[in-house]
């Protein structure tokens, strides 16, 4: 009932969302500023975007980041889904407590610790730091996020669907592939998207585990930000925000369409 939504409720929602969105909006607005001084408005211009596409360093970093994110998200999705199945379907096996701990711990682990420990591992096994070390590190921490997302879907999955498939002659593995996986697939996809954006965003872990020739975009942005705010960085940020927002919105629309189709079946 709408009557429950009092003025106090509405204003706290408005204040909250203004706080969440105003900084991002300002950042986007000032990426179109003519002036080099980010805080003084001097007219509309897209020159920072064209300058951005001349900047080889940023373009290289972006390419590295996208590759790392794509590979790490894909591997993490497979591993994370397996982990989720292990957690939900196998309630007793040796070392389950340790396993559960290892899946949940990275979710709340300070990034500096994860980064440092992974770096020290790579040093200890004498693995040259670079593209692959960043990728491995990203797989490790994002697989836990995928596991949690898929797990929450699997918990509510009606196991009798799989049993029905087996009753109709499907071997267990096939039953999982043909019935369970398609049903939980939206969760797997959101897991992949989450892993992809986590990798895209990560600065701390990448800084620890990266090596020469594998500078990611956040690392590049960070090193420039330390020198001060520039419209160029605003432009990079705007492009990233646009990409991620579009991706999330498309995913949400697809989800909605799916739900809609599901209702009509």
């Amino acid at each position: 009932m709408t009557a429950r939504w009092s003025w106090f409720n509405i204003s706290s929602v408005v204040v909250g969302f203004a706080f969440l969105y105003l900084p991002i909006v300002l950042l986007i607005v000032y990426s179109f500023n003519e002036s080099r001084l980010v805080t003084v408005w001097a007219g509309f211009s897209t020159k920072w975007y064209s300058e951005l596409f001349q900047n080889q360093g940023i373009l290289d970093a972006a390419w590295v980041t996208v590759r790392v994110a794509f590979i790490s998200a894909s591997v993490a999705t497979v591993l994370g889904t397996l982990a989720a199945v292990a957690l939900v379907r196998y309630t007793r096996f040796r070392g389950r407590t340790v396993f559960t701990g290892m899946v949940y711990a990275p979710l709340v682990m300070p990034e500096v610790i994860t980064g440092l420990s992974l770096l020290l591992l790579f040093v200890a096994i004498n693995f040259a730091r670079g593209f692959w070390t960043v990728t491995l590190a990203h797989i490790t921490f994002s697989l836990c996020f995928v596991a949690v997302v898929v797990q929450s879907r699997l918990v509510s999955f009606d196991k009798s669907l799989e049993e029905a498939a087996m009753d109709l002659g499907c071997p267990p593995f096939q039953a999982f592939m043909k019935v369970t996986l398609p049903v939980i697939f939206p969760a797997v996809i959101s897991g992949w998207m989450l892993a992809f954006t986590l990798s895209l965003d990560d600065l701390v872990i990448a800084s620890f585990t990266s090596g020469p020739g594998a500078t990611t975009l956040p690392m590049k942005i960070y090193s420039q930000v330390r020198l001060g705010v520039t419209p160029e960085i605003n432009a990079v940020c705007t492009i990233l925000i646009a990409i991620v927002t579009t991706g999330v919105l498309i995913a949400a629309l697809l989800q909605k369409r799916r739900a809609f189709l599901g209702n009509n079946e």
Binding site: W5, L20, T39, I113, L116, S117, I221, V229, N234
Partner: protein
């Protein structure tokens, strides 16, 4: 036979991966934190190696020095970093709750059609880069930034406020970055709350505010706890926010660790800091995981 094999693989593959890339690195950090610093690559001398026999390890263990840890204890910089991290995390968690609870409450009471959109709007910033969101505040908070321009223009202040490079900016940064983590768990408990409970309290003689405290707020406690822990735990080890928004006077343990590692190349002290940070966080982390496990069980 086939089934037994697939069963085992489903567990084994992620298990081995996590053992190797999650647990093993920790043991290495622990080992290095107990080693002596030496310049070169890698910049530490292992105090004992895993390939030694148990007797050798035991012998070395008994002779082990906690040199790095006593060093941490002796230098007030480190102690102060820990304390200051906890203080900053605590204050910002409280501020996040102050802003997050009314937001979550307002969302939970929104009309049915509006709620999914609001939920989406809370989650959306979570998908955009953390670094970008922190960066956005620099332009707002600095001396000649937008906030000061606005306040000067409104005549609220005569001289620009100094916010950037102080702890205030760090609070703002943490509240801003972690607000969704606070809002989501509180929202999900409030949304499930049966409105008739509040009505029952009113029926039995509670005023509107009385019913809010005795029923709504009380039943939201699990969500509030989860939200606070989700903000507090990462905030303690935060690096980007104090580094970009804080000043030279802002002491936070994540920043100290970073400096030790990247600027001073002192890997052993960095490892010792990491171990202590972890010990500090073990209680809230375990607490959070228990609550989470309980919630998952209840949901299943």
């Amino acid at each position: 036979m086939m089934r037994a094999l697939t069963n085992r693989l489903v567990i084994l593959i992620p298990y081995v991966w996590l053992l190797f890339f999650f647990l093993l690195p920790f043991l290495i950090v622990l080992r290095i934190s107990l080693s002596d610093l030496e310049y070169g690559a890698p910049p530490y001398t292992p105090q004992f190696s895993f390939s030694d026999g148990w007797s050798v390890i035991w012998e070395k263990l008994s002779a082990l020095d906690f040199e790095n840890f006593s060093f941490l204890a002796s230098d007030s910089l480190y102690i102060n970093s820990y304390l200051s991290s906890l203080q900053i995390a605590l204050v910002s968690t409280f501020l996040t709750l102050l802003l997050g609870f009314p937001l979550a409450y307002g969302m939970a009471r929104a009309p049915d059609g509006v709620r999914p959109i609001l939920l989406m709007l809370v989650i959306l910033p979570f998908w955009t880069s953390f670094l970008i969101r922190v960066y956005a505040w620099i332009g707002i908070l600095k001396q000649e930034g937008l906030l000061n321009q606005l306040l000067l223009w409104l005549g609220v202040i005569d001289a620009p406020l100094e916010i950037l490079s102080t702890n205030k900016a760090v609070y703002i940064g943490i509240v801003y970055s972690y607000l969704p983590f606070m809002v989501l768990p509180i929202y999900s408990t409030l949304e499930k709350l049966d409105e008739s409970l509040v009505e029952a309290a009113r029926d039995l003689g509670c005023t509107r505010i009385g019913a809010f405290w005795k029923v709504t707020a009380r039943l939201a406690v699990p969500g509030i706890m989860a939200g606070c822990l989700l903000v507090f735990i990462p905030a303690v080890g935060e690096f980007v926010i104090p580094d970009l928004l804080g000043g030279s006077g802002t002491l936070m343990i994540g920043k100290t660790l970073w400096t030790e590692f990247f600027n001073n190349s002192d890997w052993t002290v960095a490892s010792a800091i990491a171990i202590i940070l972890l010990i500090v966080l073990v209680v809230p982390i375990v607490w959070f995981q228990n609550a989470q496990a309980k919630a998952t069980e209840a949901g299943g």
